[in-house]
Symmetry: C2
Subunit: 174 residues, 2 copies
């Protein structure tokens, strides 16, 4: 059985991410070999590796050029990595669009299936919320598929507060 040691808000760790973008890490000991879970705000990530991660959860492929553009124009990007010795593997991702003042909307929350069920998705979301709040964003929103509504509810998100409805535009739907 693995265990966690939270290193959040501690000194910068000796991780592969730069200090400016490092968000801390967690240490996991699994069958004797030590691995670290590292969170990073760095936007310059390998888009092919990201699309592999999205593949692993069954998302349909997207044009690499558009994925790059979307990351560059996201207000916040947080990626989650497993570091084992010199080997670093992308295991989670999330990003948010924002007006940098009032509103943020979280998109593309993904955790690799092999790393699900350990609370890593929740930790990724907590990092997102913490960063957005530190930027004085008052309205943090998202659109949740039905099977993850309870996941987000546990993190403090409420569906349809005061009857507010999330709506999507469909071409030629009139």
């Amino acid at each position: 059985m693995s265990f966690w040691k939270s290193l959040f808000n501690s000194q910068p760790t000796a991780s592969a991410t730069t200090t400016s973008s490092s968000l801390g890490s967690q240490v996991e000991r699994d069958n004797g070999s030590e691995s670290q879970i590292i969170f990073s705000k760095e936007k310059d990530i390998d888009v092919y590796e990201l699309e592999e991660l999205c593949d692993a959860v069954g998302w349909s492929r997207r044009p690499i050029r558009k994925v790059k553009k979307a990351i560059q124009h996201s207000f916040l990007v947080i990626s989650m990595w497993e570091q084992r010795g010199a080997y670093r593997r992308l295991i989670g991702f999330s990003r948010a669009t924002s007006d940098h003042a009032f509103n943020a909307t979280i998109w593309d929350v993904v955790v690799h299936p092999e790393f699900q069920g350990r609370g890593l998705g929740k930790e990724l979301m907590r990092q997102m919320i913490k960063e957005l709040r530190s930027e004085d964003i008052s309205n943090i929103t998202l659109f949740a598929d039905p099977h993850v509504v309870d996941f987000y509810r546990q993190l403090g998100f409420r569906p349809d507060p005061e009857g507010i409805k999330g709506m999507f535009w469909y071409p030629n739907s009139r």
Copy 2:
């Protein structure tokens, strides 16, 4: 009774907005004196005039500094003006955040009460949709208060498609 003449997609009009940001205009004849409704993408708008407009529909005041920041960091801003001779008045506003690639979210849709009930809100939204689609944004979203869900439905927006829920984060709600 007033009537409309759509000048969209026609030559640039002799409006106060710059050609690059002008979206066209509509002509209205009301009691003999001619007025024009002008749409503009220009972000450099008088934030005090905007807050007066928001006041008129009963929205609570927001810090001017943050409103300015939000406009500058919005992907798309469309304002709606009544031009009567040399006099130009802000009568509508809307903006959208985006990742410039896949997703856009529309915020702050407002039409002055004196100009409501004439289809101007719908025209403002059609301009928003047209511009976002021209930028190849595939996912146009918004969060609608209960009393405007039908308004947006008429424009092609669907609430909770495939059970997707709009969710808002609340501090200390766990």
